[in-house]
Amino acid sequence: MNAKFALFLSTLLVAFSPAQVFAHHAFAAEFDSNSPIEVEGTVIKVEWTNPHTYFFIEVETEDGRFEEWAMEMGSPNGLLRRGWSRNSLKIGDVVTVTGSRARDGKAKASAETVVLDSGERLFVGTSRPDFEENDK
């Protein structure tokens, strides 16, 4: 009886486990640390999701068009440990972001540093394994 009940509980736990765990990936599988980017833009959306937090910025190109860049950061818990709060990055903030661009060439990057218009520098806990500031 106990074994059956334990099996029943285990099945339920697996069934209700967050699907986001499947969204986790190795840095090198998606981003290229040899393709550094630095872009300035205005924050239009912030998503505090596991396993990665994302924010989206609107970047004006030289020819006057607008591109939407998706910036991946560490997990919400990782950001909180680095001193972030939900108000650290607000819609409308103008930010300069450095990071590593996505391998598929899309407007997506793994963010490494975010510098606010005020000059404040935020560390984002990138999943890039050799990024030395992750240890700070």
Partner: protein, 132 residues
């Protein structure tokens, strides 16, 4: 065992029920981006950030360095027609920017739109925005 099972069921129920508190709460609330212009060849970027205070809708046009607060927002809940008004800088002065449009796909998180017509001083045209 029954008590443990009940607690487990309660945990499952809460894990399913609590995410409902993450809903946005008002169809107009959020960050919107799109364009406005008098014709297809003259389109200008339009960003809008709206909030719902529980009593009224507030917001800014182009949140960021050139943010302009909305000074009037009206929403007809029977038709979801919304009118926004603000003073926009224009040619060294300012001009009244009046936007009137309909919020559509209210239940959609990925395809909600707000579109209609606008006037900016003596200029008029169409606009569209989508929720980010």
């Amino acid at each position: 065992m029954t008590r443990i099972f009940r607690l487990f069921c309660l945990g499952i129920f809460l894990s399913l029920a609590l995410p409902t508190t993450a809903q946005v709460g008002h169809p107009a609330k959020g960050s919107w981006t799109g364009y406005y212009g008098p014709n297809e060849s003259d389109q200008r970027r339009f960003r809008l950030l709206l909030d719902w205070t529980g009593a009224e809708i507030t917001g800014v046009i182009n949140p960021g360095r050139r943010a302009i607060s909305l000074d009037k927002v009206e929403l007809d809940y029977s038709t979801w027609m919304m009118t926004l008004e603000a003073e926009l800088p224009l040619d060294g002065g300012t001009a009244r920017f009046v936007v009137t449009g309909k919020i559509e796909n209210l239940g959609s998180w990925t395809n909600r739109r707000y579109s209609g017509t606008y006037t900016l001083g003596g200029e008029s045209g169409e606009f569209w925005l989508s929720l980010n």
